[in-house]
Every structure is written in structure tokens, then in C-alpha cells.
């Protein structure tokens, strides 16, 4: 029955497009709204009828087994929330009816792609849905067809294709000694041939490909251009889930289910994570454009996730996944606010902004919550996830990495505070007297996302038991 998560949106798209003359944009909007809301609700309340039950008529025709464990649930939740946020932002930033219709269709396709990645139990299926997500995001980035966006989309396309090739080569080499590409077969094959140089090479190729997709240093070249030049709603989607579902989730799944936490893998992950944190933080300091700074900040935060995951202990994995969830929420919040500001002021250049919060109070307040959560200030949820990661590093004896993490936390706080003061507080710049608060839909979206951040921070013990502890099950013993 989880296949319905993929089948229903697909049939929806087919029906919407078949009758596209008669369907208005509103029908597409509410259909997408319902689908994403259903996905959120289903991943919060694990109703056994949906997740474990079988529809006989469906099984006879579509007999696939899905990977349903707590990691998939959390990812599905992230996908649902961020897609919903992107949908609402799109409603108020795109202007043409027909454009909105096509945008919503593409948005549903990206969501299907990511849900497919998360639910797949087979390496090649994961690759196929990764391509679905990638192709839909290329078109989304180039949606407004302005020069910057086209260049960003093209650069992303080339690097993503190179990543694809690397993954394909890895999969092909895996087939030399494994029966198929499903996770169990790969696991048993790797346990038999693990020390074989060819096997290690195949794994290395695959992981390099996934690093490119996830925007980790040194393969992050496409990320700032793609994030900053994409239209506002697409930036929300990209920063919130696409990079994470495509890149980080894949690493987590491959390490947790296929090859296990061997020492070289752990060292590699921790090294790449730490480098990403530092490079992202330093690069974000010097940016003048709001969205570009947020893009480099994303690289930095994703470095935290990979660093925490690379530790390999239960605490590390829990911290990493929780930080993944938090980053989806607060990065989407920040991008939604940048969309509000952009729709009112017309630019994303920070030098042209100042004192915005006096005219846009809700946007300013929610941005403050987003920034504080990103820098790890208690009692917001970002604080807990960073704390768990640092604790996991300390417990494991990696004192240097823990020090790097703490230092970069301070750096993050620094640049975010500078930005916050520059854009939202301080004196109101000259040309900005006429702006008002952004439209209700966008304000409501940022409000809800901020509430989620506060709630997850305040009710942390409950969150810990409900979401984090089940994650223990995904690690191979």
C-alpha cells in the first residue's frame, strides 16, 4: 500500500494533463495540497492499515516491496512539509495561470521522485528515481528562463550527469559479484568480497557520485549558482529537500544497509563533513546576495549532518537525522522569507536592504527564529541536534572534529547575526518606505514552519523518544 504514495500522484498528473483545457490552476493546486498533506499525516501517524496492509487488486499488478523504516518516515515527513511550503510560495510568486499549472505538475513529479528514492529497496531503483528528481529539478530551475537561471541549470545538469555516470559505473562493477542490486544481495556480496580492491573501487565510485549530488565539498561547484538563480519557490524546494533526499539520504542508506560502518568509510565521511562545514561557513561570510549566502550556509549545515553520521554510533546517527530534519525546516523557512522579501523589494542584494523588520514584522520575527535555530541557540530544535552531534563526537573520542564543530557553530552564529542585523534590523533604507508585509499565504507558511521549530525544541524529550530511538533499527549490527 505504500505504493499508493507514488501511484496516486501519478494518476493525478495524468488526469490533470489529459483534461488540461478544462482544469483550472485551482484544481491542480488543491490536488497537490491534498496529496502533500496526506503524505505528512501518514508519516506522522503510522497507521498500520496503510503501511503494512495490502490491497489485493493492487498487489496482483504491482508487486514491489518497499523499505519502510523510521528513516524513510522522517524523510517522507520532510518531503511532505517542504513540498507544501514550496507549493504555497509558488502560488503567490508566480503570476501566470498556465505557468502555475505546469509548475504544480513538475512539483508533484519532484515529490514522486523523492518519495521513490526514499522508499526504494534496490540500488538501481534508487538511481532511477534520483534521475527523475534531477530532471524535474533542471526544468524547475530553468522555469523563468532568465539568463542566470539557465546557466545555473546547465551547470547543475553537467555536474549531475557526471555524478550519474559515476553511480552507474559503481552499480555495474557491483554486478560482478552480486546477484542483483537489491540491498540484501549487495550486503551479502560485500561481506564476502569486501576487501577486494575492485569492490572497494566500485563503492568509492558510487559514493563520489552521491557526494556530487549532495553538494559536499569539493563537489559543491553547482550549488550556489543553482540555489541563488532559481525562482523563489524552487529554491525552497531545492534547499529544503532535494539535495538532502538525493544526496544525504542515499549515503545514509548505502552506509547503513549495504556496506556498514567500516573504518575507512567513517573517516571519509567525517573528513568530508568537516571540510564542508568549514568551507561553507567561511564562504558564507563574504556574500552580498541573500540567497547565495543561504546556499553556502546549506553546504555548511549538510557538512554537520555528514560529520554526525560519520561517527557511526547510535547517538551520531540520531543527531545526524535530527539535524537533517531541522535543516529542512529552518532552511525552507529562511528561503520562504527571502521569497517574501524579494517579492516586496524586488531584489536579493543585501546591500540594498535595511531595517526591513519594521515594515514586515512577521517575516522579521520568523527569520530571527530561523537564524537562531540555524546557529544552534537553545531552546530551539537546532540547538538539540547540534548538541547531540557534538556529544557523539566527544564520546567517540574525536576531539579535533568536536572542536571544529563548535568553532564553526560560532562562525555560523556570526554570519547569520550579521546578516540578520543588516537586512532586518537597523535603519530603514531610503527607497523602502512603501513596502508592506508579504501576502497572507507566504506569511502563514513561515509562521507554521517557525512554530514547528519552536515546538520541536521545547518538546524535545518527547521528540527524542518518538522519532529518534526507532532509528537504532536501521544500523546493521
Amino acid at each position: 500500500m505504500p505504493s499508493l504514495l507514488i501511484l496516486i500522484p501519478l494518476f493525478g498528473i495524468i488526469i490533470l494533463n489529459a483534461f488540461s483545457k478544462k482544469m483550472s490552476e485551482a484544481a491542480a493546486f488543491w490536488f497537490a495540497f491534498a496529496v502533500f498533506l496526506a503524505q505528512i499525516l501518514l508519516s506522522i501517524f503510522h497507521h498500520p492499515v496503510f503501511w503494512a496492509g495490502h490491497l489485493d487488486s493492487l498487489t496482483s499488478f504491482f508487486n514491489v516491496s518497499f523499505s519502510i523504516d523510521s528513516l524513510s518516515f522522517i524523510m517522507l515527513l520532510c518531503i511532505g512539509i517542504v513540498s507544501l511550503a514550496s507549493l504555497l510560495v509558488a502560488r503567490y510568486t508566480l503570476f501566470n495561470e498556465k505557468e502555475k499549472f505546469k509548475f504544480i505538475n513538475l512539483l508533484i513529479i519532484v515529490s514522486i521522485g523523492m518519495s521513490g528514492i526514499v522508499l526504494a529497496k534496490d540500488l538501481f531503483t534508487m538511481y532511477v528515481f534520483l534521475e527523475v528528481t534531477a530532471i524535474a529539478s533542471f526544468v524547475l530551475i530553468a522555469f523563468n528562463k532568465d539568463a542566470h537561471a539557465l546557466e545555473g541549470a546547465f551547470k547543475y545538469m553537467i555536474l549531475s550527469s557526471v555524478a550519474t555516470i559515476l553511480m552507474l559505473l559503481g552499480i555495474a562493477l557491483f554486478l560482478l559479484f552480486s546477484n542483483s542490486t537489491s540491498f540484501e544481495d549487495l550486503r551479502s556480496a560485500l561481506s564476502q568480497y569486501g576487501t577486494n580492491p575492485l569492490a572497494a573501487f566500485a563503492l568509492g565510485l558510487f559514493i563520489c557520485g552521491v557526494f556530487i549530488k549532495g553538494g559536499l565539498v569539493p563537489f559543491h561547484g553547482w550549488l550556489p549558482d543553482a540555489y541563488s538563480s532559481a525562482p523563489a519557490a524552487v529554491s525552497v524546494l531545492l534547499a529544503g529537500v532535494v539535495t538532502k533526499a538525493a544526496g544525504i539520504y542515499t549515503i545514509m542508506r548505502v552506509v547503513a544497509s549495504v556496506c556498514g560502518f567500516t573504518d575507512p568509510i567513517k573517516s571519509l565521511l567525517m573528513l568530508v563533513g568537516a571540510i564542508s562545514i568549514v568551507v561553507g561557513a567561511f564562504a558564507a561570510l563574504g556574500q552580498n546576495d541573500f540567497k547565495r549566502m543561504l546556499a553556502y550556509s546549506s553546504i555548511s549545515q549538510v557538512g554537520y549532518i555528514v560529520l554526525g553520521f560519520g561517527v557511526g554510533t547510535e547517538l551520531g546517527v540520531m543527531g545526524a537525522v535530527f539535524h537533517l530534519f531541522n535543516h529542512s525546516i529552518f532552511k525552507s523557512l529562511l528561503f520562504v522569507n527571502s521569497a517574501s522579501v524579494e517579492s516586496e523589494i524586488g531584489t536579493t542584494d543585501m546591500n540594498k536592504m535595511g531595517g526591513v523588520a519594521s515594515k514586515m514584522p512577521v517575516t522579521g520575527a520568523t527569520s530571527v527564529i530561523g537564524f537562531l535555530s540555524a546557529s544552534g541557540m537553545p531552546p530551539l530544535s537546532g540547538f538539540w541536534s547540534k548538541l547531540i552531534i557534538i556529544m557523539a563526537l566527544w564520546q567517540n573520542g574525536n576531539y579535533i572534529y568536536a572542536a571544529i564543530a563548535i568553532f564553526s557553530s560560532i562562525l555560523t552564529l556570526a554570519y547569520l547575526l550579521i546578516m540578520q542585523r543588516k537586512v532586518f534590523f537597523g535603519k530603514l533604507l531610503h527607497g523602502l518606505e512603501g513596502i508592506k508585509e508579504a501576502r497572507l499565504g507566504m506569511v502563514a507558511t513561515s509562521g507554521i514552519l517557525a512554530v514547528i521549530l519552536i515546538a520541536f525544541g521545547l518538546f524535545f524529550p518527547f521528540v527524542f523518544n518518538a522519532l529518534m530511538v526507532p532509528l537504532k533499527g536501521i544500523l546493521i549490527r
Partner: protein, 106 residues
């Protein structure tokens, strides 16, 4: 694996690596956007060739053929979209040369 099929695999693998190098060189050196897309296509063909030879050598031809068919579908869509984006870039700037494009934006 028998020695003969291993030699066959090595021979094909050698040419696959050469194809990969050619495609990678094409992407890195070219100044024309469309030629970069052709380079990507060459890389993918190298990957499909590797899949096929591994399928033959280990006897799993059915599995690898399914993979190759899926990959070909994905590649066609990618080529179409890449062509579309290159076309848009051309319509904006009247050129497909990356050096000229960089100079335009400053």
C-alpha cells in the same frame, strides 16, 4: 569466473576506460554547450557498454538489459531537456560559446 571471460572483461574494460576519457575530455575542453551534451552522451554509452559486458561475463544478461533499457530512456529525456536549455541560452545571447557568455555577464 573462468579465465577466458575475465580476459574478455578486461579487454572491454580497457576500451570503456578509453571512451570515458574521451567523453570527459570533451566536456572539459569544449566551449560549445551542445558539445558538452554530446560528451555526456558518450560517457553514458561507455557506462552501458560496461553494464552489458559485465552482464555477459556473469551470465545475467536479462538483468543488465533491463538496466540498459531504463538508462537509455533516461538519457533521451536528458538529451532533450539539455537541448532545450541550450536553445534558450542561445535565444537569450545569440551564442553558444561559453567564453563569450562569461564575458557578457562580467
Amino acid at each position: 569466473m573462468s579465465g577466458e571471460s575475465w580476459n574478455l572483461f578486461l579487454m572491454f574494460g580497457f576500451f570503456v576506460v578509453i571512451l570515458l576519457a574521451a567523453g570527459l575530455y570533451c566536456i572539459l575542453i569544449t566551449r560549445n554547450l551542445l558539445r558538452a551534451v554530446i560528451g555526456i552522451e558518450l560517457l553514458v554509452k561507455a557506462a552501458t557498454l560496461l553494464l552489458i559486458i559485465i552482464g555477459y561475463v556473469t551470465g545475467k544478461t536479462a538483468l543488465t538489459q533491463s538496466f540498459v533499457i531504463t538508462i537509455i530512456v533516461i538519457e533521451v529525456v536528458l538529451a532533450a531537456i539539455a537541448g532545450g536549455i541550450a536553445l534558450r541560452v542561445y535565444r537569450h545571447n545569440n551564442t553558444l560559446d561559453t567564453h563569450l557568455l562569461r564575458r557578457l555577464r562580467g
